[in-house]
């Protein structure tokens, strides 16, 4: 087997909020082009883990390496790190005072000082990719939840990240809108994007994930290929969880 390029390495990560220890010694490795899906009950630390990888939460212990480089949030320029690591949120967090197109163009223009005309062309292409070309000039308030999330994905892709993190991207959506967002994410996975996805969509995990990691009480209890996790989980806690949600 050829050598895999490790994009993200999380080593013995610890994170507490006050007295509550949310992440206890989490270790995780994601190779280039892999899709890792994090599953687990709410409060198990899934979201906190990917927020730590985007440095929206600052770890209390352990190490996070992006493309082999250990990141120190106090010393390293986090804007540069985040330009490589995109993030999509449960509640979309689109900029309500900007049109769809402006949402997508904002970060390249401001953070990268990119050329305006070129950024616009790229943004339009991205909107086409997520199937929202005709919505370029409207404000986010007139979009459905599914459309908002697809814009958020396009906005994140506009920075040409090498890694994408998804924090429960379909949890705030009406059931009939979940499919279109998952479809967009599937396309991304097929394009070879490295992804970490927190989700409760088990069908999606089965279909798209290279690895599924089950988290419980701040730890990754089990990480395996999806067929193994879903058909033959090794850990009792994984089995219990899957019995409850499937």
């Amino acid at each position: 087997m050829e050598d895999k390029q490790v994009m993200i390495r999380v080593q013995n990560l610890k994170k507490s909020f006050g007295q509550v220890e949310v992440l206890k010694d989490v270790t995780l490795e994601v190779a280039k082009g892999e899709v890792v899906v994090l599953i687990g009950a709410s409060g198990s630390g899934k979201s906190t883990l990917i927020r730590c990888i985007n440095f929206l939460e600052i770890k209390n212990g352990g190490d996070i390496l992006i493309e082999g480089k250990s990141i120190d949030p106090k010393k390293d320029d986090l804007t540069k790190v985040r330009q490589k690591v995109g993030m999509v949120f449960q509640h979309f967090n689109l900029f309500p005072h900007k049109t769809v197109l402006e949402n997508v163009m904002e970060a390249p223009l401001i953070a990268k000082k990119a050329d305006k005309e070129q950024t616009k062309q790229e943004a339009l292409q991205l909107l086409q990719k997520v199937g929202l070309s005709e919505k370029a000039d409207v404000y986010p308030s007139s979009l459905s939840g599914g459309q908002k999330q697809r814009v958020a994905i396009a906005r994140s892709l506009a920075m040409k990240p090498e890694i994408m993190l998804f924090d429960e991207p379909t949890s705030a959506l009406d059931p009939e809108l979940v499919g279109e967002v998952l479809e967009t994410m599937k396309q991304l996975a097929q394009d070879g994007m490295t992804m970490i996805i927190v989700t409760h969509e088990m069908g999606f995990a089965k279909e798209v994930a290279d690895w599924v990691a089950f988290m419980n009480q701040g730890k990754i209890v089990e990480m395996a290929r999806p067929e193994e996790i879903f058909n033959n989980p090794k850990e009792e806690r994984t089995r219990e969880f899957l019995n409850r949600v499937l």
Binding site: R82, F89, K98, A107, S141
Partner: protein, 221 residues
């Protein structure tokens, strides 16, 4: 109580005298609100920053301004400035009013900034923008919009408070009313007339702010 006909008569007779003071009141208000907004924005940003010393300076400023009467502030600033740097009467008064309203405007801006969903800052950061870029491009435009109704209110307060500039010999609206009543001993008439001037400006201004709010409502969730 003066009769309506007397009031009307006096209103039109004194109309020409009122133009200049009216303009001055307006200039004082606009200058103090603009400078006050700049001070307010700066102080609000200090307050929401992680910069401890900045927070302390902002808090002390707001505490002192809110804790002392405006007329005292005007006198202190007017005579204080007058002795140090001669800003002239207009700017001494305008600056005193600006420093005063700046404290209240700072609290308006701070409230609006903090009312913006924290997901907005996170979205900006996650896209690789710096926190100051996100503040400037994403948070502030939304916060400013939310600040407009309370800022309109503050503008009205500043307009009325500018009457205190009469006590440092500025010939604005209230000062003229005082002079006219002192000359004629017909106090009630002139104070009612000047009240009408203030009332009309406030009504016009309220209407303008209302229109602005409606126009800015686009893109709201």
């Amino acid at each position: 109580m003066p009769s309506i006909s007397h009031l009307t008569e006096e209103f039109f007779r004194t109309l020409p005298f009122f133009w200049k003071p009216l303009l001055l009141t307006f200039e004082l208000t606009v200058a103090s609100v603009i400078v006050g907004s700049i001070i307010g924005l700066f102080v609000a940003l200090l307050k929401v920053s992680k910069f401890k010393l900045g927070q302390i300076i902002a808090n002390v400023y707001i505490m002192v301004i809110r804790g002392t009467p405006l007329i005292v502030q005007i006198f202190v600033l007017y005579f204080g400035f007058y002795k140090m740097i001669d800003l002239g009467q207009f700017w001494s008064a305008a600056l005193a009013l600006a420093i005063h309203s700046g404290a209240y405007i700072a609290e308006i801006f701070r409230g609006s900034i903090q009312s913006i969903d924290k997901g907005q800052m996170e979205a900006g950061l996650s896209l690789g923008m710096s926190s100051s870029q996100t503040m400037r491009r994403i948070i502030l435009p939304q916060a400013m919009k939310r600040s407009i109704p309370p800022l309109g209110n503050q503008f009205i307060l500043s307009l009325k408070e500018s009457s205190l500039a009469a006590f440092i010999a500025m010939d604005e609206l209230f000062s003229l009313a005082r002079r006219l009543s002192a000359e004629t001993f017909d106090e009630m008439t002139y104070f009612l007339i000047v009240a009408l001037y203030y009332l009309v400006i406030v009504m016009i201004f309220t209407y303008v702010v209302h229109r602005m709010e409606k126009r800015l409502a686009k893109g709201d969730v």
